[in-house]
Amino acid sequence: MMRMFTLRNALAVVVVAGLLLVPVYAAFIGNNFILSMSTRIVILAIAATSLNLIMGYGGMVSFGHAAYLGIGGYVVGMLAFEGISSGFIQWPLALVVSALFALVIGALSLRTRGVYFIMITLAFAQMIYYVGVSLSRYGADDGLTIQRRSQFGDLINLSNKTAFYYLCLACLLGSVFIVWRLVNSRFGMVIQGARSNDIRMRAIGFPTYRYKLVCFVIAGTMGGLAGVLLANHTDFISPAVMHWTRSGDLIVMVVLGGMGALFGPLIGTVAFLALEEALPFVMAKTIDPYFIAQNIRPSEYWQIILGPLLLLVVLFARGGIDGLLARIDRKEQP
């Protein structure tokens, strides 16, 4: 019944294989930009994967998921600033703090539903954003440069770009694996049931609130991990990573790739960041020359193309890229 060779499986394999080979390719052409860009993709894909757990599988549309990127990052940045650069202290602490924030935010937000849930998660994220802005000891608006990446002794050197990249990739694949196990477990069935019909779940005997809260905390912790990695990648943390538009980007990545699909967020992140890089470049080559006389450069407004593109995906490809492939797979099936 289950076919192994389908387009959606094939794309997931190609993307993962491609990511595994990035450092080899980067070394081969002697260009580190592609490695840095891929590291960023992988890290944001972890955040998107964690958002997919609550949004795609649990139906909890959090519009404040970037907050955890900031929380994880700030724990690393603040500790580094205070002279504690051991990763063995920074990382667990960052995850615990992210989990605690998710616990409080979730405990309050999950009492609401629908649009109210979206707005309240947004409100919490904005609060945390403004806390970041007001942290004058840690750079406030301007952010905080991290002088030393997290230290893990002889275990791994995060300043080695290739080693760091593979660490991020391992974290991503680990996250995807965890989400896969979670959503198919009894716990995951409850989460999916609550997405599908929360009233019915309670009628047949599930106290759904506590299951959703646990799910929310797991996703927040995973988002915190992405924040830890992001801070180490950029050697910098600022409130900007928590801006509400960043939360919006994460939602777009998940929707673009395919909500409730295991590899959807990863594919969506690759597509989103690739478009973000490629659109201005392509537009500069193709459209800009026609506007030289007017002295404007359309490539600066590349979102003009991205926006309608996303609209098309939402309107005509429900289920995102993954959903599109799944539909083609079904058609091929006799």
Partner: protein, 254 residues
């Protein structure tokens, strides 16, 4: 007289509208008790209070001697009070078997199991398949719930109610929207279930109610105007005037 389900002086108001007015119902173990009444009589409001979806303003509900008036929905379900919904309320994007498995899982201890694949666990899937078979849906197990017909949705509702190993079924218009053939099948199914479960049946289909019920309660504007055996109800002048008069006469005479 102490029944499995005792409703004592239940009242519920929505603004100026009295949806449930001093309702008293007593259902002994093993009885199939039907609640009938014209549209807007407050039947669904009553069921919602019995399951805990709505809280009554006053009065008391006892289940097997336990006061459940203020218990939340899931705890009542745990005590063995299972409900099927009037408006089909399923997990449409999950498979038929998943729907019933969830109902089994609800009664299989807590669900904070994060790792093992729930779809491979025989202690969930086997009882689920058995319940599906009893509701006549064995061959539909792997279809998505959304792909079933309306009649099959009602059967699935029933399978889910059964899967929770309930002591009592609260069936909210199981016949709603069914064609004559499907209705007849549902009546047969309920007749079979009647032997094992105490059932509260809210139903519009008079023929089915009079064929199945041991006793009937008639609700009009939230108030109980009569309770008794089908024969007593049939011959009760108050009922005929208040309720049955609105329908074509033929329905009450068999």
């Amino acid at each position: 007289m102490s029944g499995l389900l005792q409703v004592e002086n239940l009242a519920k108001r929505f603004g100026g509208i009295v949806a449930t007015d001093d309702v008293v119902i007593n259902i002994p173990e093993g009885e199939l008790h039907a609640v009938i009444g014209p549209n807007g009589a407050g039947k669904t409001t009553l069921i919602a209070q019995l399951t805990g979806q709505l809280m009554p303003d006053s009065g008391r509900i006892r289940f097997d001697g336990t006061d459940i008036t203020h218990l939340p929905m899931y705890q009542r379900s745990m005590l063995g009070l299972a409900r099927s919904f009037q408006i089909t309320s399923l997990f449409l994007d999950l498979s038929v078997l998943d729907n019933v498995s969830l109902a089994v899982q609800a009664h299989a201890g807590h669900s904070f199991h994060f790792w093992r694949d729930a779809r491979q666990q025989a202690d969930l899937r086997e009882p689920a398949r058995a319940a599906l078979a009893r509701a006549g849906l064995a061959d539909r197990a792997d279809r998505p719930a959304a792909a079933l017909s309306h009649g099959e949705h009602r059967q699935l509702e029933l399978a889910m109610a059964l899967a929770g190993k309930p002591r009592m079924l609260l069936l909210d218009e199981p016949m709603a929207g069914l064609g004559p053939e499907e209705s007849a099948r549902m009546v047969e199914m309920l007749r079979a279930l009647k032997k094992q479960y105490t059932i509260l049946l809210v139903e519009h289909d008079m023929e089915a109610v009079f064929a199945l019920a041991d006793r009937i309660t008639v609700l009009v504007y939230g108030r109980v105007i009569a309770t008794g055996s089908p024969d007593e109800i049939r011959n009760n002048p108050q009922v005929r005037e208040a309720y049955l008069g609105e329908h074509e006469e033929g329905v009450v005479h068999d």
